[in-house]
Structure formats: C-alpha cells, structure tokens
C-alpha cells in the first residue's frame, strides 16, 4: 500500500507544494476568462482540486474563492477528491445503456466494493460513470486508464479489472 501512495506522489504534485500552481498561473498571466483552463491544468498537475490549491489559485489569479469553487463544482470534469491509480470509466451513453451498461457498472461495483464515483481504500481503483465516449459500435464499453474495452459482458468484466490489479501501472515499483 505504501507503494501505491508513492506512485501517487510521483504522478501528481502534493497539494502542499504550490510551485506547480505558480507555473500555471504564470502561463495564463491575466488572460480574461481563463478560469476553466487554469483549473484543467491544475487538475492535470495535482490529480484533483485540493482546497488549499483552489484558495491559492483564487488569490493568485484574482478570483473570489466562491467563483473558483462554483466553476469547479459545476463541470463534471473537475474532481475535489484524489483518484486511485487506475481510473475505470464505464460508458453510459445511449447505445451502451441499451446494451446493458448498468449491469456492467453493477458488476464492477460488486467486485471492487465501491460505488460510482468512489475510490477503493487501497487507492488502486476509482470507478466512474461517464456519458457517451463516442465508440457506440463497441458498446458496452469501459475505459481503464487509456485502454478501451468494448463488447463487454457482465460475466467477463472481472477478468479485465484483474489485469490491472496485478501490476501497479507501467512503472516499476
């Protein structure tokens, strides 16, 4: 489990370290209406939007904290909680829905013991439902990290998830 935590730190900046935020703030200077791209870059750097970082961003870019928080909670892309090592996104577009996406989500939920939007206690997996990813001909679909798995059946999703359970990503230890 320590390994997993280490891994996280390598992937994303620590919310106590505001240096990456400074770089991002500099990138946008005083650009008008740049709050959304600012938050997108911050999330890329930190993995999620920590309260500390949002406060510093508001101060640094001249926004009210309520504005920043308002935008961060309006758009589904923004996360206020850290994510696990592997992000499992189950598509719930129309084609996937009629092909049984709910059963797929349910099966993963049962297997990992977490609900939609939650992360396993060991920080290995985060489960998310997403709207159409536009690969409707392969429905039902899930995307684990960057890999798309199509034409799923509830009975074989455990096998797919297990492939990611074994190793902790591409990097060694």
């Amino acid at each position: 489990m320590n390994d997993a935590a280490c891994e996280c730190k390598q992937r994303f900046a620590d919310p106590d370290d505001l240096a990456p935020l400074e770089v991002i703030l500099e990138r946008y200077g005083g650009e008008k209406g740049a709050l959304i791209p600012l938050l997108q870059d911050v999330q890329d750097a930190y993995g999620y939007l920590h309260e500390k970082v949002m406060r510093a961003l508001a101060k640094g870019a001249g926004y009210q904290l309520s504005q920043v928080y308002g935008v961060a909670t309006f758009y589904t892309q923004f996360r206020l909680e850290p994510i696990g090592e592997h992000l499992v996104r189950v598509c719930h577009g129309t084609a996937c829905h009629v092909a049984g996406a709910e059963l797929i989500s349910e099966e993963i939920s049962n297997f990992l013991g977490i609900k939609d939007g939650q992360t396993t206690p060991d920080m290995k997996f985060t489960l998310e439902s997403v709207m159409c990813v536009g690969a409707c001909s392969l429905s039902p679909i899930m995307i684990v990290d960057e890999d798309t798995h199509g034409k799923l059946k509830p009975a074989n999703v455990r096998k797919v998830i297990k492939r990611y359970q074994g190793n902790s990503g591409e990097t060694e230890e």
Binding site: K32, G33, A34, L35, I36, P37, L39, Q40, G70, V71, F74, Y75, T76, Q77, F78, H92, G93, T94, A95, H97, V98, A99, G100, L103, E106, E107, N110, V130, M131, C132, V133, G134, A135, C136, S137, L138, S139, I141, T148, G150, K153, P154, A155
Partner: protein, 594 residues
Amino acid sequence: MSGNGKTKLVLGYGTCGIAAGATAVKDALESELATGKYDAYLDIAGCMGFCFREPVVEVTGPDGRSIIYGDLTPKRVSQLLEAVAGGEVIEDWVVRRSDDPDAGEGDFLSNQHRIVLRNCGNINPESIEEYISAGGYDAARKALTSMAPEELIDEVGKSGIRGRGGAGFPTGTKWGFARKARGDQKYLVCNADEGDPGAFMDRSVLEGDPHAVIEGMIIAGYAIGATQSYIYCRAEYPLALKRLDIAIAACHEWGFLGKNIFGSDWDFEIKIKKGAGAFVCGEETALIASIEGKRGMPRPRPPFPANEGLWGKPTNINNVETLAAIPWIIANGGDKYAGVGTEKSKGTKVFCLAGKVRRSGLAEVPMGYTLRQVIFDVGGGVQAGKEFKAVQMGGPSGGCLPASLLDTLVDYDAITATGAIMGSGGMIVADSSTCMVDLARYFLSFTQEESCGKCVPCRIGTKRMLEILARICAGEGEPEDLERLEILAADIKAGSLCALGGTAPNPVLTTIKYFRNEYEDHILHRKCTAGVCPALITLRIQEDICTGCGACAKICPVEAISGEKKMPHSIDADVCIRCKLCLSRCPEEAIYAE
C-alpha cells in the same frame, strides 16, 4: 494516389478504430512493411464510417482498384499482406470493393451521399497537403480574394443549409444577423461540444477532416466580419483536439491563419477552448458563459448572441457539421447544395447509427430519405434474431419513433411533427429487448443530472418526472402516473429558458404516445415485456437447452440456482435478485427473462 506503382494501405485511425484495436494493427503493419518484403506503404485516415467492422484498412493497388478489409487483428496482418502481394482477395474480410461497390456490405457506403464526410476516411487528417490536394482551401481562397462578405452570405442562404447542431435555424440568415450587428470586435464560435449520448459525428469530422471545419470557419469569419474565433470542443475528445492543434499549426505555416491570409488584407485567428463536461454548454448562451470562464448557465434571449454574445460583442455560433459543409457550398455553389434534399430541408445530414442496428457507423444521407432507408438500406436493419421496435432520434432532447413511422422523411419539419427532433444526428435503434419505459427513464436521469438548475421547472420538474419513471420501472407505478408525467412535461416545456428544459420531456412524451402499452404493462400488469426492469421480471432456465454445466450456479451471488451436474438447473425466484449475471454467463443461452 498510388501513382508511384506501390500498393497503398490506409488504416482507419479514428477513436472508434483505435478503441477496436487499430493501434496494434498499425504496429503490426509497420513492422511487416519495414521488412521490405512488400511493395506497399501505410497511411492513416479518420473514420471511414464502417464502425461495425473496425479496425478497417483500405488497400489500393497500383491499378487504382481498392478493397476495404475489416475486422483486422495484428495476427491477420501478415496473411493480408501476403494475399495482397499475391493478387488474392480474402473474401471473408472484405467490407467493400471498388469494382463491385454494392456487393456485400459495400452498399452501406453506396446508399450514402457524402458532402460533409467527403474527405473522412480518404485523406490523412494530420496532413494539410492531402487536404489541399483534395481541393482544400480553394473555397476559402476564392471567398477571401474574389467575393464580398454579402455575396458569401447570399450563397450560403441560397444553399438553404440549416444549423446542424439540432435547432435547424437557417445558417445564411444567422450570418446575416451577425454581419449587420454593430461592434468593434465580432466573434465566431464553432460549437464542438457534442454532448448528446449516442452522437459522434462531430467527433468523427474533427478527427477525420479537421481542415474542412477550419476552412468553413475562415469563410464564416470573413462573411460576418469576425477576426477572432473559438472552437469549443469537449475535453473527452483528445484525438479531435490533437488533430485540430496539428491542423491549426499547419494553417499558420501556410498562411491560411494569422495576418493577411491568402494574401488578402483579412486577419483571422482560431483559439481552442476545451469544455469541462456540461451538457447544457451546447446551448449558445451557456457556451458563451463557459468560454468566459463562468458556470455554463443559459440566460434569457434577447439579446441574441448575434448582437450581444461573447464579452458582450456580436457573436455567431455554428456547429461543426454546418461549418464542414461550407467550403463545399462555396466551391460548388449554393444551388448545387440546394439541389439535394426536400423543399424546406436542403442538403445532407450525418447520422450516427448505433444500438441494435446491424451496421453501426457514420451515415450521411440526403434530406428526404425515409428513416427506413437510413436504418435498413444503409444500416442493414436490426441485428439478427430480433425485431425492430423503435428508433431514438435527437438524444435526450428527441424522441422514440415506432415502426409505423419508418416512412417519415429525414426533414426538419416532418420529424418535428412526430414529436421527435432531427437533433444533432444520433440514431439509436431499439429492438424487442429494449424497454421503452426504461429508455425514457434513462434520458430523464441524464437531463435531470445535466440541468444547470437555473429554472425551477427544469431543475425540480425533471426530478419529479424521474421519480415517477423510476417507480414505474420498479413496479410501483400508479394509473394516474401517466397523466402526472404529461402535466409535468407541459410545465417544464413552458417554464424553461433554454432547449435543455424545453425538450427534456420529449423522450417521455413520445414513448407515452407511441408505446403506451408498455407503460400500461408496467403499471397495470406489473410486467416488463422486454425483460429489462429487474423488479418486473422472472429469470428462468429453459430445461431443454440447459446442459447442466453449472456456470450459472457458480456465478450466482445469492446461490439461487441449483441442479445436479449435467442435469437441467433451475432458479429459485424467491431467492433470485435478478442481477442477470447468469444470463450473460450461460454458454447455451438457456436463461431468459420474462
């Protein structure tokens, strides 16, 4: 294109192809070709439209004849290359051949009329040279160097093209408003926030032919007088964003963007704005708020964006598909475009066929085709063993149409008259295994989730409608529920500022209108005939098919299935939680829901 005497291989390399494994096929092709054994070279293209056979590769011989092969895997690559080298054809993998284009599944393409998708799948979207050699940027050059803005607006007006994002407002008229608006700075926005679940044509165009959209924007910007523009694209479309970046950079190099483009005195810039995931941002005023960095909430109109849009300046917003058609219209003339289609709906429309249709993929058809032609002649009908039940058009804002309306024309007014809408182009086919009540519940849960919350009828009304639908699906519906749904629907439509709320009840209203019997089955008879709603089904094992392999008993989480080895098993309905895991596990398909 294969004039150098070599065989050309073009791999469909859009999101759907990649999802189906095109990257591994590409690696295999590259390493085989690197051996030098074959007199062939590889290029990529965007989606060819044959999503149902991805990954696909088009093989064009030195004689110019081509064959599109589908269902490729890395293992099949060397076999394919050997066959190509030996002048043989692997019939089982053929999707379409140029010397017999209607044979097999080739008519998927032959029955289409491609204007917007003219280059998709034919050229490398990452190469501006290939776009130019296909006639690209001729229209923009002609527009900027020899036409007045008003002439362009007239030409687009003559074409009769209407906004392809869903609303169907005449594009020429819209440009005219923005042209006439007063302002020191005007803006053009390309709406690429394709949020309808089941719609992926904008993504396919951006991935397969980004220059067509950029060229359309250059023309539109010049016509309305905007030197600054934005493409507002979903962040969920990384490949489209990447290809746009490449295309915009190439345009700067070639002098098609920036200062004095095409040697004229006109300047034009495009900036990309990534959306952050909010369906309501497809609405114009919400989209503007989002570009300004705010919560994407709509505001009342007037003032319309044409007069007061982005940063309070005159702004014209067009959809991806509309803009991609513009260069063709300017190059070929508005009259030629208007020669295709019906009296009030001109040109073509791109649909995304998906769901229980045999051939899912991209279908661009002339307006005036019937839905039957789209679904059966192009789409090949319903998947084997099932019967057509409905087609869902227009996503969460649209409706479900039954078989009796299959002869409805693809025409804005004809489709609106049914209670559905043309929408952006999603076409999801439902068969006998799709529950229409559940489908209505699905769309309502989507709109309820995506409602921005500004208008009370939309925010709370959709929630109440969803609760009613959920209880009908749970077997707790009451006979009065249908009337309650209709009253709520009317209030939401009347009391919402934007189209999200204004159209949110459509999926419910059309299913009540055309599939009332299914609602009644759920409410009065506590039955879900499609076998979807868990509370209303019983899972059974067909004894004469069951081989007693025990796979179902093993996977059942509540031990509801029992039986002797190699003897037919049975399900204890009192214990069963109807999770349907057994259904997907049974190798004999002996388990069914009723």
